[in-house]
Structures are given as structure tokens and as C-alpha cells.
Symmetry: C2
Subunit: 264 residues, 2 copies
């Protein structure tokens, strides 16, 4: 198998290749500008090797238009698609997290102790606070972020935190995410070995691999608040996946997928 | 009534005048030196107005000897009592807390989040941590102290703490202590008014009032870990009692109760 085929197989085996999410990833990664229109045929050439069939592509584009993420315009026989203002905004919002080359700094932590409450109320609070970057551990909430979401009813302490004890790491390292990162790391290591230091790929191959790499990284990293790397146990592969992801993206380079010279 | 009688009545009404505790207080306050022997008659003259009968005095002195707090030596018709090495050590240990003119500084807090545990285990931990200055609130522990008692199994954050929310204040302000401080404050204010700016008292009266003031202050303040004044609600009278106690002790002066010129 070629380096491309080996890489494609390794990344495809990770599962979860929903067309909707892959298309959003392609725009967010390679066409994140208000003028970056991508033609239907170019999108198909990138995502067909990834396993997105024409019918699934049509359905996903229809839904993305309906949800206000993309705008499609006819141009003769084909359509050109680009991110809407809303789509651009969503992509910009997710971008710092996806493309950060390092985890949050470990210097300044916040611990929020909520008013003691029965379990359903605690769970509701946990979901609300997760949206502003807090994770639950031992009945309290932790963040390395700016502390948004805390109220005057909460006891909040800001300062230094020693390394988390094992029980707290076990609580913040959801088993599904831990397994996801472990599988992603193994796949990225295979891609890393298969491509070598100077990948010789056609632009469409580069685009397909970028889409799969970013897609798989984002679907894990956007699923949990960002804590400093030091918070996790040695068995947690999040930081290793971040490093591999950004190393591979840098080596692959970003192909041009919009305009008349797309994928040339 | 004289200023002394009014003060004596106000302080005696607070209750809990166990001879054992009053004797320890007298030594800790007025005879806290290895050579400071107090004769039996002097001790009686100080504590009889306070309500300690001769029989109760004998029983308490016997118990203090048996527990290793005091050493008694015959001198002709009477006995001389002084603190043992153990008694001196206990008095020294309690002294910073009793005689501190201010609460702990509020700058540096520690919050300890224990491994989640069932209630009996949590209660045992709460009792153990109280000994090193931690108070429980919302399932976590707070201290402004040096953090002794924490283990590698605990999640500990050190830093700034905003004012405590009402529910946390309610949890650290035990109702019995809150009531005790309120009653002590009222009594000390009566003493303050009755004695005036320059109390004209016999040394034995001064000694009796000091014993009662220190006794009543210590039995409350030694019952809970010291938190910065800012931690408490406006209705908590601990800081006001500390202020009144030290103001009155300074005004009363410390009479000599050992040696040949005792109570002269």
C-alpha cells in the first residue's frame, strides 16, 4: 500500500465519519474565509476516498444549508459552497481549541464548590458549567479558564493546584474519551510512519488526510473542557494526540481547495 | 453593686465554670512559668468568688495532678502548685490562639477536596482534619493555616478565596458557638461598662475577673479552627469577643499570684 492508502486505512478505521461533520471540518480547515467557495466536484474528490458517498454528500449539504452553516450557489453545471456568517463564527469559535499547539497553562486554577444539592440539581449544574470549561471531580468543579459561569452562591478559590490525585484523574478521564485518544494516537503514529518526513502526495490526497486527521482530533477534544496537560494521568493520550496532529498538519501543508486552481 | 460585683455576675451567668478548667486558666494566664508556684490559699481566694467550693477545688487539683498537669508540694500548713512540664507545654500550645489580638490573615487559603467517601468516613476525616485547623463546608475543607493534615490522596488548591457564600458561612458557624459568642459579647460589654476606663480593683478581684474572662473566651475559641474574620457572616460575634477580651485584659493588668507578694 502507498503511504496515502495506509494512512487512509488507519484513520478510516477510527469510525464515526459522518458526512456533515467531515464537510464542516473541510471548510473549517481549508476554506475558512467568507470568499472561500468550494465546488461540489472538489468536495466530492476530497471526501469520496474517505467514504462519503454522493447521496450522503447531497443529504449533508442540504442539512448544512438548512441549519444555516453553508451557502450554496449554482455556477453552470455545478454548485459552489461556502461558510455562512454563522458557519464562519462557529468555525472561528472552535478553532483555538482545535489548533492550539499546547494545552492551557497550569499556573492558575479555579476550584468551585457549589452549594450542596441533591444529585439531579448537581448534574444540571455540571452540564451548565461544562459549557464554560469546568470539569467535575469530587463534587467540586475545576477549570484553568477564566471562571465564567460561577455565581455569588458558589465558593470559588483561585490559585495553585498540586498534581491531581488518582481518583480525581479517574473522574475527569472519561473512559470513552480515554479509549478514543488511545485509538487516535495509534492511528496517527501509523500515519506518521507511513508518510515519512516529506510526504509525496497529490493535493487531493493531502486534503483527504487533513480532513480525517482534524475530524478525528476535534471530535475528541471538543467533547471535554480543556485542562492543563499536568492535570491528567500518564495513561491519558490527549497531549500526545495534540502533538501528533499538529506535527502531521504542519508536514502535510494546506492545499488550495477553492478558486480556479483548487487541488492543482 | 460595685463594678466588680456587676462584672462577676455578668461573667458567672455564662455558665460552665468547671473548677478543673478554671484552675488551668488561672495558671495559663497568671502563672505560666516553671517557677510560678501558686499556694492553695491564693488559688482559693481567686476562685471562691467565682463559685468554686473548697471540695470542688480539692477534687480538681487531685485530678490535675493525676493527669500530669500540675505538681503540688507541701510547704508547712499549705501546698504550693505549679504547672508540670506537660502542663506548661499545653498552656504554651493554646496561648497563641487565646491571646492573638487578630484573626489569621485572609490572604492565603487552602481548600482540600477529599476522595469521595461515604458519610462515616467523611465524618472521621472531618474530626481528624479539625485538629490541624481545617473546617468542613460543602463537602470540602478550608483552612488559613499551613495545610498540615493533607495527604497525596487529597486535591488541595492554595490561593485566594472570595468571601464565603451564605450557605458555607452557615455551615462553619455552628449554632452552639454562635449563641455562645453572642452571650459572651453581651457579658463582656456589661463588664466593659461596669469597670470603666480605669478599673479600681483589689488584685484578687482582678485575678478573679481575668480567670472568668479568659476561661469563657478560651472555651469558645479553642472549640473551632481559626479562620480569617472575613470568612464569617456579619452576625458572627467571634471577632468582637476577641477585641473585647483583649481590651479588658489590657485594662485589668496581670496581678502577681505567685511568690511571697502574691495578691498584694
Amino acid at each position: 500500500m502507498s503511504g496515502f492508502e495506509t494512512s487512509l486505512a488507519a484513520l478510516s478505521a477510527l469510525g464515526d465519519r459522518r458526512a456533515w461533520s467531515l464537510i464542516v471540518t473541510v471548510f473549517g480547515d481549508m476554506a475558512r474565509g467568507p470568499e472561500d467557495a468550494v465546488s461540489g466536484p472538489v468536495l466530492s474528490r476530497i471526501l469520496e476516498p474517505v467514504g462519503v458517498r454522493p447521496e450522503a454528500m447531497r443529504v449533508a449539504l442540504h442539512r448544512l444549508r438548512k441549519d444555516g452553516w453553508i451557502i450554496s450557489e449554482k455556477a453552470g453545471q455545478t454548485s459552489n459552497h461556502r461558510l455562512s456568517a454563522f458557519g464562519l463564527e462557529q468555525s472561528e469559535a472552535a478553532s483555538p481549541r482545535i489548533y492550539a499547539t499546547e494545552g492551557p497553562a497550569a499556573g492558575r486554577w479555579r476550584v468551585l464548590v457549589p452549594r450542596p444539592a441533591p444529585q439531579p440539581e448537581f448534574a444540571a449544574r455540571r452540564d451548565a458549567l461544562a459549557a464554560t470549561g469546568w470539569v467535575a471531580a469530587g463534587g467540586v468543579f475545576l477549570t484553568a479558564g477564566d471562571g465564567a459561569g460561577a455565581t455569588a452562591e458558589d465558593m470559588v478559590i483561585t490559585g495553585d493546584l498540586s498534581a491531581l490525585p488518582g481518583w480525581a484523574q479517574a473522574e475527569i478521564e472519561a473512559p470513552a474519551l480515554a479509549a478514543g485518544y488511545a485509538a487516535l494516537k495509534a492511528a496517527l503514529e501509523r500515519v506518521d510512519a507511513a508518510l515519512g518526513p516529506a510526504p509525496a502526495l497529490a493535493p487531493v490526497e493531502t486534503a483527504a488526510l487533513r480532513a480525517l486527521i482534524v475530524h478525528n482530533w476535534r471530535r475528541l477534544t471538543l467533547k471535554h473542557p480543556a485542562l492543563p496537560d499536568a492535570a491528567y494521568s500518564a495513561g491519558w493520550n490527549g497531549p500526545a494526540c495534540r502533538r501528533l496532529t499538529h506535527d502531521l498538519l504542519a508536514r502535510l501543508g494546506r492545499p488550495r481547495i477553492s478558486g480556479p486552481d483548487a487541488l492543482d
